[in-house]
Amino acid sequence: MARSEAALRVTPAPAGVPAPHEAPTAADAAIALRSRRVSTEPHTASPSLAASARRKPRRVLPGFRSTLAYTLAYAGLIVLLPLSALVLKAATGGPAVFVEVVTSPRVLAAFRLSFGAAALAAALNAAFGLLLAWVLTRYRFPGRRLIDALVDLPIALPTAVAGIALTALFAPKGWLGQWLVPLGLEVAFTWVGIVVALVFVGLPFVVRTVQPVLEGFERAQEEAAASLGATPWQVFFRVTLPSVTPALLTGCALAFARGVGEYGSVIFIAGNMPMKTEIVPLLIVTKLEQYDYAGATAVAVVMLALSFVLLLGINVLQNRLARRGSA
């Protein structure tokens, strides 16, 4: 229990710290909190009493105004101000310019590519991520913990490093490319390469969302289904899969959102041909390098709006997932 953990942890003030006579040691606090918990336990006190006891000390804790003020000021300066600069800059160009930029064939092609590749990568990650999460939670085999740790590599590895490493692997003379290219599967410098990079980048999001659900899943249900004569496939598709679907969807949405905006790992492997293998983030950079601020801003605003919608959708999914988990 978290509270008894706190009680164990707190230690008396070191001798060097001058403590006022009436100031409690943390150990006192721990004792006090235990007794308080007993008194507000629902079955020992009437609900109304518990409610009033809970409501009253809400602002007992110090630091609300200062931490909230700091949070808002910092978030405003670092995030809100720059993002509003983007939106306002896009607005000053006027709707005609905006529409012209956003509906140009090159921009539309880039959006199709970015969203298409991210969607395909998310779908592939649904399969690969579920496979990895399943194997890591259900089976014991040598190297399992190492693989478990490696799953987070795409989050820890700088995207530029991932980009040049994947390119080197899949280049026509690379470790994998030398086998794939003769088979007609060109990965590097094609849209396939973009999908490969996005599978790499999105993998941990799916595995880490599905894994805890599989771990906490009632195996009794699977065993019951099996004992009633269901085949392993039936057990998986009728019992296991429905219960991990919300987590799988959330993980895929996270991977998709990350993939749409991904830049570093993609640009090395993509080939970056306009209309063909040019992703939206690269198009923004290109426009910026040509001092086309209005164009870059217009594309970025559309991208930002879509990302924001995605974020809200993911939030809804995650809240549902959390409710299911606690239910």
């Binding site: 630091g63 690969f128 194997v135 590895l157 700088p158 570093g264 950079v285």
Partner: protein, 280 residues
């Protein structure tokens, strides 16, 4: 009997498939970084790392992380205290807002600062008048990195501190403990692993960020080049050994991040077990 055998075969098949996938997508990229870096032997490898511009890039990367990470650490602690320990209107919206930089493409994270501080940006003329450079200079790199790593600490801490509740802190406060004392003695011990985890992820991203930094850096060698940007320059010059040598430093950083993360999770799990054992 046959069902058991089938299960065994399926099990092996699934493990094999997972291993192939991990080998192709996780192990091979890592391996190729180190083999290419060392393909010409240790001499060229060390030379590439010790080259003046590589060292300047390393120094800049460390400097940027040393500013961005503490800034976001302080923010993360303040934000999670306000959000997890108090109730106020708009709290949920604030939590969503804090996640926003995660959803924004790194390129846009850089672009927004160009629009603010660039030559044609809001504050551009004023900055030019006072001869302050933000874009294509170190301050821009710091700002873009701070933006990108903004949510890391806060998003680790908020759920942890919410789960912890506020009974402990309220008890300590009612007995006269000051705010800082309460935080250090009561709150911090409960969230320290989550805090450390957030800081690790924040640091790894701060040192490895590419897209956002690329937009604001200007790629001036020896001056505004971070390690990931230096990798790109070397790679585009077809200097594979040097590019992968510098990249191997970043790969080592990633491996260290994974190691510390695994250790932190291990310690946090051990603490949970200990706490359960101590349950009265």
């Amino acid at each position: 009997m046959s069902a058991v055998a089938q299960r065994g075969a399926g099990r092996l098949l699934l493990i094999a498939a997972a291993l192939v996938f991990v080998a192709v997508f996780l192990v091979a990229p890592l391996a190729i970084v180190f083999t290419t870096a060392l393909s010409a032997g240790f001499g060229p490898y060390l030379a590439a790392i010790r080259e003046r511009e590589a060292l300047a890039a390393l120094q800049l990367t460390l400097t940027v992380a040393a500013i961005a990470v503490p800034a976001n650490l302080v923010f993360g602690v303040a934000a999670s205290w306000a959000i997890a320990k108090f109730e106020f209107p708009g709290r949920q919206a604030l939590v969503t807002f804090i996640d926003l930089p995660f959803a924004v493409s790194p390129v846009i994270s850089g672009l927004v600062y160009v629009l603010l501080f660039g030559a044609h940006g809001w504050f551009g003329p004023w900055l030019a008048e006072h001869e302050i450079r933000v874009i294509f200079a170190v301050p821009g790199i710091v700002l873009a990195t701070t933006f990108v790593t903004f949510p890391f600490v806060a998003r680790e801490l908020i759920p942890l501190m919410q789960a912890q509740g506020r009974d402990d802190e309220e008890a300590a406060t009612s007995l006269g403990a000051g705010g800082w004392q309460v935080f250090r003695r009561v709150t911090l011990p409960n969230v320290k692993w989550g805090l450390l985890y957030g800081v690790i992820l924040c640091t790894a991203r701060a040192m490895g960020e590419f897209g956002a930094v690329s937009v604001v850096s200007g790629h001036i060698r020896g001056k505004t080049n971070t390690l990931p940007l230096h990798v790109e320059i070397l790679y585009n010059e077809y200097n594979a050994v040097a590019a992968f040598a510098v990249a191997s430093l970043l790969a080592l950083l990633a491996l260290a991040t994974l190691a510390v993360k695994t250790w932190v999770e291990h310690r946090a799990a051990a603490d949970r077990v200990a706490a359960q054992g101590a349950r009265p």
